[in-house]
């Protein structure tokens, strides 16, 4: 009964969605504000409806309703309740529904907040969102129904929504259980973050399309969606970082990023989203690049859907893809359709989107931003092609090929280096015009600091050329950006007679986006330290040792003490836990417990590393194998991952920077207006 109810609600929300889209469309066409209002109210209904359907699903997940196929697939009796709730997005059908639920929430937020202000755009925003929602809810209803139940017909068990003739409900004893890799706190937040990022990009896209259709092709849509795209970017970035951390902690291969197609699927919209964040500033400041911003947001939307398609359709089988379903062609069709329609609209408005300004110098900020966009697009091309060519090869030649890390590293390395360079240089160039002289004056000190650091590193740390180039660029970014903070703050200090911290605080508070952006740049440089460290200096060794024996790697010695194996019947897991002593340069520094968890329900192993983390490096120990009988030999794989923790430190400062940049400003009307600019008048200081 409950399953039917859930499905019924889903069906009603589907119909409501279609209605809201159609009503908005006819309302706009016939200038009927009553119809548009009706569409809006229908839109506002979708979120509660989907919430009810989701509530029903979660209720069944939590209460072991194994007669429901989805519940059977992703939960088992032994799972703790919080995991049963998060199993909602642990499988195909549920995660598609989760996607739709988030989008319904966001669209409601948009239509509720500034309805009167954005009246001309919002009907179209409702339409775009309704089309997207129709697609996702339709996917749930026609292909991936989370409410399908098991039925016994003539001794055979079949899954079906509606009971076949003479069938009885079949309830399995226990569920399959969630893939153990997904039973991790990281997995609890990583997919929602990623999805939040994915879904939030639908909103700026909807406004862009609304702008194209209504012909209001000025900056209005970018100004309305500026904060949306920042938050979308925040969620997507967080999703990526959390995914990396999860992989590092759970997948047991000593890394956080394997250039797996599914990782890249989430990375591609991030690339266009990041390019968009930058290029939209050029439009705001210089009135240029309106076409390009449209293209970027359309691409981002297409890549969001494409990314969901890659991860959900089973078109690639990889570590993440635990799914295989018939929805592929529909997804592809939808991506193609939205691309064609969006591009057609763009072409229609092409002449109206012409830029207003000319460019004055190849070293101006806008020119460097364009270079930044070129590099991001370059990385996108490399990633897209790397994901597509194995599929193309299989399709056209019948042979499967792997395009793995060496391809990506070689191709993207120089592009990332270029981005770091721009990160140091571009913020110091001026809008409009910069010359070699002005740029050089602004930058030579930072470059000198970076050069000194690089020389020191060359003497004391490494002679690896790639690493030194990387470290130079990182040091350049950090010193140039910190110099900017210092320059601004010291100007205030001398003019306003403030102390350093007040000056710095007020300076940053006055221009959150600018200084938040700088914090993000510094964070990216910190993260680059970690990436360089693990990419270039990672060390590993593996060996089988008896109790009392040890393995050595870098400064570390790992001595095997003991191993125990036991069943935990409540959680249905067999734990094999080893104890090793860690010595650094001969001094005992602690014990680690690398272990292997075997999940009986899904018959899968999970390798949990023992980790000892410092700013210098991570000691990362995996239990690979052990002798079950004699219990005195075990195989360990040991990694030393230099500098990798800077990646996580950078992620935290990044988060801080982004929240800082996206934090709402006080309403401008509240701020005292002191706009008199005269050279002699210290009161009208910029730092005011």
């Amino acid at each position: 009964m409950l399953a039917e109810f859930g499905f019924g609600v889903l069906l009603i929300s589907f119909i409501t969605t279609i209605y809201s889209g159609l009503a908005a469309f006819y309302g706009v066409q016939n200038k009927s504000s009553a119809l548009v209002e009706s569409a809006r109210r229908a839109q506002l209904l979708i979120f509660p409806l989907l919430s009810i359907a989701a509530g029903v699903l979660i209720y069944m997940l939590v209460n072991n309703r194994f007669d429901v196929a989805f519940v059977y697939e992703v939960t088992s009796k032994s799972m703790p309740t919080y995991l049963k709730v998060t199993a909602w997005w642990g499988g195909q059908a549920g995660s598609l529904m989760f996607w739709a639920w988030l989008l319904a929430a966001f669209t409601s937020a948009v239509t509720l907040r500034k309805w009167d202000r954005d009246l001309e755009f919002l009907p179209w925003v409702i339409i775009v969102s309704a089309v997207t929602l129709t697609f996702f809810i339709g996917m749930n209803i026609f292909f991936e129904n989370p409410f399908t139940r098991f039925w016994t017909v003539n001794g055979q068990v079949i899954p079906s929504m509606f009971p076949p003739a003479g069938a009885e409900v079949f309830t399995p004893q226990d569920g399959n259980g969630l893939n153990p890799l997904l039973r991790h706190p990281g997995m609890v937040i990583h997919p929602p973050m990623l999805y939040l990022g994915f879904v939030s990009y639908v909103i700026p896209y909807s406004f862009a399309i609304a702008a194209l259709i209504t012909g209001r092709t000025d900056d209005r849509w970018t100004r309305i969606t500026r904060r949306w795209s920042l938050w979308a970017w925040l969620f997507l970035s967080l999703g990526l970082v959390l995914g990396g951390r999860w992989a590092y902690d759970v997948l047991g291969w000593g890394g956080y990023w394997g250039w797996d197609p599914v990782e890249i699927a989430a990375f591609m919209p991030w690339l266009t989203g990041t390019a968009f964040l930058h290029s939209v500033m050029i439009q705001e400041k210089r009135g240029m690049l309106k076409h390009w911003n449209m293209i970027l947001i359309i691409l981002t939307y297409a890549l969001v859907v494409f990314g969901t398609f890659l991860t959900r359709s089973g078109v690639l089988s990889s570590v993440h893809s635990f799914a295989n379903s018939p929805i592929g062609p529909f997804f592809m069709g939808y991506v193609a359709l939205t691309l064609v329609v969006s591009v057609a609209l763009l072409i229609k408005r092409w002449p109206e989107l012409r830029g207003e300004t000319e460019m004055k110098s190849m070293l101006s900020r806008e020119a460097l931003f364009l270079l930044n966009n070129l590099l991001f697009m370059g990385i996108l091309v490399v990633c897209f092609w790397g994901v597509i060519s194995p599929l193309a090869s299989e399709l056209f030649t019948g042979t499967k090929i792997t395009v793995g890390p060496p391809y990506y590293e070689r191709a993207t390395g120089p592009l990332f280096a270029g981005l770091l360079f721009l990160m140091a240089v571009a913020p110091l160039s001026a809008w409009g015009h910069s010359t070699i002289q002005t740029l050089g004056r602004a930058l030579w000190k930072s470059a000198a600091v970076a050069a000194v650091i690089t020389v020191l590193l060359a003497i004391f740390y490494t002679q690896n050329g790639y690493a030194l180039v990387g470290f130079f660029l990182i040091a350049f970014v950090i010193s140039a950006t910190t110099h900017e903070f210092w320059r601004g703050a010291s100007a205030r200090m001398s003019v306003q007679k403030e102390n350093f911290f007040t000056a710095l605080g007020r300076l940053m508070g006055r221009n959150k986006r600018r200084y938040g952006g700088y914090i993000i740049h510094i964070s990216m440089a910190l993260m680059a330290i970690g990436i360089l460290g693990i990419e270039i200096f990672q060390m590993e060794t593996q060996g089988t040792i008896a109790a009392g024996e040890s393995l050595e790697l870098a400064e570390y010695r790992v001595e095997y003490r003991e191993l125990a194996s036991w069943d935990d019947f409540d959680s249905g897991v067999n734990y094999t836990r080893s104890v090793v002593d860690i010595y650094e340069n001969g001094i005992f520094i602690g014990q680690l417990f690398p272990r292997i968890d075997y999940y009986y329900d899904s018959q899968q192993n999970m390798t949990i590393p023992g980790q000892h983390a410092t700013f210098r490096d991570d000691l990362y120990i995996l239990l690979v194998d052990w002798q079950p009988v004699s219990n005195n030999g075990a195989t360990f794989k040991i990694y030393v991952n230099p500098l990798v923790n800077w990646l996580w430190i950078g992620s935290f400062t990044f988060l801080f920077g982004l929240i800082f940049a996206a934090w709402p400003d006080k309403d401008p009307a509240d701020e005292p207006v002191r706009r008199k600019v005269s050279h002699g008048n210290k009161q009208a200081s910029a730092a005011d």
Binding site: W253, K285, V319, E358, M359, W385, S389, T402, V403, Q542
Partner: protein, 171 residues
């Protein structure tokens, strides 16, 4: 063209290698017992190969039983004195090119390597021709003077300008 003369140590090394290889072949079983390949030697090769069953997982870290056996196979082949290249060739012959981390540079696969640089260069070309177009001074009436700040300077621009100005005045 003169051929470079190999230094005398090279001859010694070559001879030594030949002797060792011959010895290895001769006393294969006994020899393998003494110098069983280490896990690190096995992993060094497995790292360059991808699991033939679970896609996109390097063989050295793949946790499946099948992959454990493949690693054992590498160990066995190493013990038999096979070179890294021979082992890789063996895997390609048996499981196809997909076991390699990158497709071999032949035929259709060239597209993998050629398309991205071509597209990036095309992008760069388009961008730079656009630059040229944009930096061309427009007709005289468009520019009203040297310090013509086209577009409406936002409060941010204004702020930065004043900030710069103050910094200059300080000196």
């Amino acid at each position: 063209m003169k051929t470079k003369k190999l230094p005398i140590t090279s001859y010694w090394l070559i001879t030594l290698t030949i002797v060792l290889v011959l010895a290895g072949l001769h006393y294969k079983t006994a020899f393998a017992q003494d110098t069983a390949p280490t896990d690190d030697e096995v992993n060094a090769i497995a790292k360059q190969l991808f699991c033939p069953v679970c896609e996109n997982t390097p063989l050295d870290v793949c946790p499946t039983e099948a992959c454990r056996q493949w690693r054992e196979l590498i160990r066995q082949m190493l013990a038999e004195g096979k070179s890294e290249q021979e082992i890789k060739d063996y895997f390609v012959a048996n499981y196809g090119a997909r076991v390699l981390a990158e497709p071999p540079r032949t035929g259709f696969n060239w597209l993998v390597y050629i398309v991205p640089p071509v597209l990036i260069l095309a992008g760069a070309f388009i961008l730079f021709s656009a630059f040229k177009e944009w930096t061309k001074p427009r007709n005289a009436e468009a520019g009203t003077g040297q310090d013509d700040e086209a577009g409406v300077p936002s409060s941010d621009d204004e702020y930065i300008r004043r900030l710069e100005e103050e910094l200059k005045n300080r000196k």
